[in-house]
């Protein structure tokens, strides 16, 4: 069935409420584009669905095929078919892409994938994404350019074959040719499976390649408008100002800019970093 349902979702980070009652339903084989100005909750939405521990759900429900997603650990969410292609993929020195992916594939299957099948599949996907041939033996994202890291996320998606792929600004850092390549790879998997996609992007170019079936604008923690790919085109042409006016939404003041933080560091949260 592969139906993701989000109802009245409220999420806070530390003491700041980011999502303020968000509703969204994603059915099998749909492509949803999530748009909106920076700092209004797009990445928060994806990170919350995936279970980032910094994002606290204070109210609402997320279900996947009627299973309570919020009750699951992060790895369980992945195993039921949710995939997050990250905006800032982590570097993991010492762990090769090959070992990493085999562990990820084996984690979701009762039987381990055979080495022969794994290599064959990985090589084919490396070629499809025009990545370096030695990728399998390189450490995960270690020393990768921004574009290579994003392609590597897509490689992981192709190998893990999720039910719902959430792609957080996966097109940033990619040049024009790479954007086409990545979009083609995503659409190829989409055509061959029941995959549904949630994509956060600021660029109409990427969205026009993916041809979303639905488009949503997220402002101040809520979806304020939904439509189809024409809405994405209009936003690309006219920006968001018309939406603020039409819907009578007050713009955020600069001191309400997004919180920037990282897990596991002693750095204080930084507001408006200079």
């Amino acid at each position: 069935m592969n139906k993701l349902k989000i109802e009245d979702l409220h999420v806070k980070v530390e003491d700041k409420e980011i999502l303020k009652g968000l509703d969204l339903e994603i059915n099998p084989h749909e492509i949803h584009a999530i748009m909106g100005p920076n700092g209004n909750g797009k990445s928060t939405l994806l990170q919350t669905i995936m279970g980032h521990p910094k994002y606290i759900v204070t109210k609402g429900k997320i279900t996947f095929d009627d299973q309570d997603v919020l009750a699951m650990s992060v790895d369980q969410r992945s195993k039921i078919g949710l995939f997050l292609g990250m905006q800032y993929p982590m570097e993991i020195g010492g762990v090769t892409n090959s070992d990493f992916l085999r562990a990820a594939i084996n984690a979701r299957n009762t039987e381990n994938i055979s080495l022969f099948k794994f290599i064959k599949e990985m090589d084919a996907n490396i070629q499809k994404l025009k990545m370096k041939e030695d990728l399998a033996h390189r450490f995960v994202n270690d020393g990768f350019s921004g574009g290579e890291k994003k392609r590597n996320e897509i490689l992981q998606m192709l190998m893990l074959k999720p039910q719902i792929a959430m792609l957080d600004e996966i097109d940033s850092g990619l040049d024009v040719d790479a954007i086409k390549l990545v979009a083609d790879a995503i659409l190829d998997l989409y055509a061959k499976s029941d995959l549904s996609i949630m994509v956060v992007s600021h660029y109409e170019r990427f969205l026009s390649l993916l041809r979303p079936t639905h488009c949503h604008v997220l402002i101040d923690g809520k979806i304020v408008m939904s439509g189809d790919s024409e809405l994405a085109a209009k936003i690309d042409k006219d920006g968001y100002d018309w939406l603020y006016e039409e819907l009578a939404i007050a713009k955020k003041s600069p001191d309400e800019a997004p919180l920037v933080f990282s897990l596991g560091t002693c750095a204080k949260n930084v507001r408006n970093p200079k």
């Binding site: 992945s78 020195g93 562990a103 596991g264």
Partner: protein
């Protein structure tokens, strides 16, 4: 060639390819190498080990020494090896610390264009301790020498001590030298990233332990039985 070493002293000179399973509690390996030589040393004692290495690599040769210590006892590892003109030394050392491991390692570039590259990895378990001092030395006169070292240490649980001292002593200009050290537990951001791909904490630990402790397959390609043995030992560590 595989040697099961039960004696206290072994002279190593130009044996090209050697795998030594150290079984004696006190061993001195003495190198005098002038052709490319590769030595893999595995701590195969049932209890404690005091391993001492000394010697030279000369004649433009390359000496590679890989040391693997998955033993559960205490280890004291001393090394003082020098590279002569145009010669090079490649050091790989890997430790699993479930007790007390101590290493005092010195590698010296003696003459022009000598080269040293050191790569230390360690996993320090709950209640265990590691004290590793690694000194790269470039002597006066060793122009255009290279002396690089990197060390990484992963702590699991609450070790007593996890101390690595990367030291460089340079007495010549016109050289290349570097040292790097990373030490700590698994980064939470990295763990979240792995979790998002379905890799839970235990599987993540397996990946890290395996990456820290497994010797490059190319080094062991001629020793398939040893490769299996090491794999089993690493797997035991994961239990």
């Amino acid at each position: 060639m595989i040697i099961e070493l039960n004696q206290n002293y072994l002279k190593i000179s130009d044996q090209r390819d050697l795998l030594i399973k150290v079984q004696s509690p006190e061993v001195h390996l003495d190198y005098e190498v002038s052709t490319d030589t590769r030595v893999i040393i595995i701590n195969d004692t049932t209890k404690d080990l005091h391993l001492k290495e000394s010697g030279f690599v000369t004649g433009g040769a390359e000496l590679l020494i890989a040391y693997l210590d998955l033993n559960q006892g205490k280890t004291f590892y001393e090394a003082d090896i020098k590279a002569d003109k145009d010669s090079s030394l490649k050091i790989i050392s890997k430790y699993l610390c479930s007790d007390q491991k101590k290493a005092d390692l010195k590698y010296t570039c003696l003459k022009e264009r000598s080269s040293i590259d050191i790569d230390n990895s360690a996993i320090v378990l709950d209640d265990a301790s590691l004290e590793l001092s690694c000194t790269g030395i470039i002597d006066k006169g060793a122009k255009r020498a290279k002396n690089h070292q990197s060390s990484r240490c992963l702590t699991v649980g609450k070790p007593k001590t996890a101390k690595i001292e990367p030291i460089l002593l340079i007495d010549e200009d016109d050289v290349e030298a570097s040292h790097s050290l990373s030490s700590g537990t698994i980064d939470e951001d990295v763990l979240f990233y792995m979790n998002t791909k379905g890799i839970d904490y235990n599987a993540a630990m397996r990946l890290f332990i395996s990456s820290y402790l497994t010797l490059d397959e190319r080094l062991l390609k001629d020793y398939p039985s040893i490769q299996d043995e090491i794999r089993k030992k690493v797997e035991q560590c994961l239990m």
